[in-house]
């Protein structure tokens, strides 16, 4: 069973690198959505017989991360009518290299951690750390407000990976609450990005510099 899990986690890590190397915003939205939905499927694949609560949480995650959130973001992108290219502060190739380095470091670092329980042989912890780092890279090296939101989504996916270790510890209300917060968060943020676009005629966050000491 661990082989299947590890294969899926490798796919998640490869998606990270794709997200770093793509220039079209639409594609990055899709990558983050596939990654989120894939991660939501993992618990169903792992445990043949899942309790109803876990199925409900997984189903909600698939619908929200795979369909609803990308739909909101695509709408926001359409109404903004901005150039659909990501203009990065760090180029695409250096970004991929940075992401690969982060992944390698995560793998090396996790090898030295004291891991508990039966998951010691899986790639859950390194994938989680690598995905969180890639989320940070996107957040800090991209200018467009909407792309920074995708960085946040990938960061959250990374945290979600870690949550797989804690199936027993998380009550359903917490899992659903986290998902709901994420959904409402993206909703609120995309409203604000639209207002940024209207007020500044751009989604470039470099223009948000009037508040400082």
């Amino acid at each position: 069973m661990n082989d299947l899990l590890n294969a899926l986690l490798v796919v998640v890590m490869i998606l990270n690198l794709f997200a770093l190397g793509t220039s079209r915003i639409n594609t990055v939205i899709r990558i983050a959505a596939i990654q989120g939905a894939l991660l939501a499927v993992v618990p169903i694949l792992l445990h043949r017989s899942l309790p109803g609560a876990a199925l409900l949480a997984a189903g909600t995650a698939i619908v929200l991360k795979g369909l609803a959130i990308p739909a909101i973001m695509r709408r926001s992108l359409r109404s903004a009518q901005i150039k659909r290219e990501i203009e990065p502060f760090v180029g695409f190739l250096p970004s991929i290299l940075l992401g690969a380095l982060a992944t390698a470091l995560a793998l090396a670092f996790s090898g030295r951690l004291v891991l508990e329980g039966g998951q010691a042989g899986t790639l859950i912890v390194p994938t989680s750390i690598a995905t969180i780092l890639v989320g940070f890279i996107i957040l800090t090296t991209r200018y467009k407000a909407l792309v920074q939101v995708i960085g946040y989504l990938i960061l959250e996916n990374g945290i979600f990976v870690f949550g797989m270790l804690l199936v027993e510890a998380l009550p359903l209300v917490v899992e659903m609450g986290v998902l709901l917060d994420l959904f409402v968060g993206v909703f609120v943020i995309s409203i604000i990005t639209n207002h940024i676009n209207e007020a500044f005629s751009s989604m470039d966050t470099r223009r948000l510099v009037s508040l400082k000491e």
Partner: protein, 489 residues
């Protein structure tokens, strides 16, 4: 009771969203404030009420312990005062739709109440993130370019920070994933098995949560969103943030601290908290010197006081009583400062000292309250923050932390001088002639009305009263809170 307290504001938020009249809608806020105050009084008088629950399983998720009670008292009290002020304020701002504003405030009330009640650290995270989303539109109330920028920074920095807190929460649950232990996010379960938790994961969890909830509290160096947000938001929102949101985030952090303390790791916590607190005080002091914008100055004052809380917590033992008391005194005083600053801002249409002068002549009551609250927050007797800050300082000496105590005093002095210069510029001198506002479409100038002055006066009276005598029920509650986080009785 918990369910009722969380759902009352949500219900009223729904009502506010549906109500078509923008004139009546703001008065839902005082209604919510009074309702919550009533519920809280019942909960404080009769702790047995906790047992009666409307939802099955709610009793394991919600239980009001002493720190929760104390924080809920601060938040409910502050909200009650702010709700009347907000109703008065929104009468002055008829040109702006207030639907989202009222719903956002009620959403904050529901979320922060849930944080105080819940025993599950995961649920606490969910509620805190919910308040982040509910309060974002409050900063954006004026719909100006500057307020968009402030809202964006708040949302992005806040969301990333709080995401780290979620990771820290997961790490804490993972530290219990060992044979013989129950992996859980339930605070009581974690406290019971604290000594056996995996130390490296516990440490990592504590650091992540410190960064995460520290961002929400506004500790340096994660405070960058704070001056922008407090500067651009209406004064009443600043009061809710500086007294309510920060207290709620502090409580959430306190839960983790109590687990770390129960694991016998207070020395580890202290090594992180004291430098972080001193750094916050230093950064705040630095940026307060020569600060022209008096609302940004208040934001730095909030950074400073979050630093004070961290220092008190870091010293531990004898300083904990002062720290928990400071949560109350800081919350009340910050309310007076932000609300009176809001009145001054509205009366001049500006918040920088090059335009705002002589406020004591133009808007005497608010300016006097602003001046008095400045004296209070910088730790002058006979006001309440003096008592709590003195108790923390005393605790530092008792614990033999002389260097910390020295730095603490130095920063307090620098803040007093820096903040004093700006405050005196605002209140003293000759008021400029009344001029029509420069920008077309800018909100009209207003002074103070009954509803925007009386609540502040009441709150200031409380600050003075608590400075003269801490009533014994409050002192007991503070002592119980100290005991609950592993401090001495």
């Amino acid at each position: 009771m918990a369910v009722a307290m969380i759902f009352l504001p949500l219900l009223l938020a729904g009502l506010a969203a549906l109500l078509p009249s923008g004139r009546i809608r703001p008065w839902i806020l005082p209604l919510a404030g009074l309702g919550q105050a009533g519920f809280l009084t019942a909960a404080l008088l009769d702790p047995a009420l906790e047992g009666i629950e409307l939802l099955p399983g709610a009793s394991t998720l919600f239980r009001l312990d002493a720190p929760g009670r104390l924080t809920l008292l601060v938040i409910t009290g502050l909200f009650l005062v702010c709700s009347f002020y907000a109703a008065g304020y929104l009468q002055h701002r008829k040109e702006r739709p207030n639907r989202v504003f009222v719903v956002g405030l009620l959403g904050f009330l529901a979320g922060s109440t849930a944080v105080c009640w819940t025993r599950n650290l995961g649920l606490a995270w969910v509620a805190i993130e919910a308040t982040t989303l509910a309060t974002a539109p409050l900063i954006y109330f004026n719909h100006s370019k500057r307020s968009i920028e402030a809202t964006w920074k708040f949302l992005l920095v806040g969301s990333v920070g709080i995401a780290l807190a979620l990771l820290g929460t997961f790490f804490l649950a993972y530290s219990a994933l060992r044979p013989g232990l129950v992996a859980s996010l339930d605070l009581d379960t974690l406290l019971a098995q604290a000594p056996d938790l995996s130390k490296p994961w516990l440490h990592a969890a504590f650091i992540l949560v410190l960064v995460g909830y520290g961002t929400k509290m506004g500790l340096a160096p994660m405070h960058t969103w704070k001056p922008d947000a407090y500067g651009e938001a209406p004064g009443v929102v600043g009061a809710i943030f500086a007294g309510g949101v920060t207290s709620m985030a502090f409580l959430a952090f306190l839960r983790f601290y109590s687990v770390v303390a129960a694991a016998g790791e207070t020395a580890f916590a202290s090594r992180l908290l004291v430098p972080m607190g001193l750094l916050s005080m230093a950064v705040a002091a630095l940026f307060m010197i020569g600060q022209q914008d008096f609302k940004r100055m208040l934001a730095y004052s909030s950074v400073e006081h979050m630093g004070i809380l961290m220092i008190g917590l870091g010293i531990g033992g004898p300083a904990l009583f002062g720290t928990m008391l400071h949560l109350v005194t800081n919350g009340a005083t910050k309310g007076v400062l932000f609300l009176s600053a809001g009145n001054i801002h509205r009366s001049y249409g500006s918040k920088t000292t090059d335009k705002v002068r002589g406020a004591l002549r133009r808007i005497p009551l608010s300016a006097s309250l602003f001046l008095a609250a400045f004296l209070a927050i910088t730790g002058s007797p006979p006001f309440a923050p003096f008592v709590s800050e003195f108790a923390i300082l005393n605790g530092a000496f008792e614990a033999g932390r002389f260097a910390t105590a020295g730095a603490f005093l130095l920063f307090l002095f620098v803040v007093f001088v820096g903040m004093g210069r700006t405050v005196l510029k605002v209140v003293l001198g000759r008021a400029p002639e009344r001029e029509p506002t420069a920008e077309p479409g800018a909100p009209p100038l207003h002074g103070e009305g009954f509803w925007t002055a009386a609540p502040i006066l009441l709150l200031m009276a409380l600050v003075l009263f608590l400075g003269l005598a801490v009533p014994s029920p409050l002192a007991d509650l503070v002592s119980d809170s100290v005991a609950a986080i592993g401090g001495p009785r």
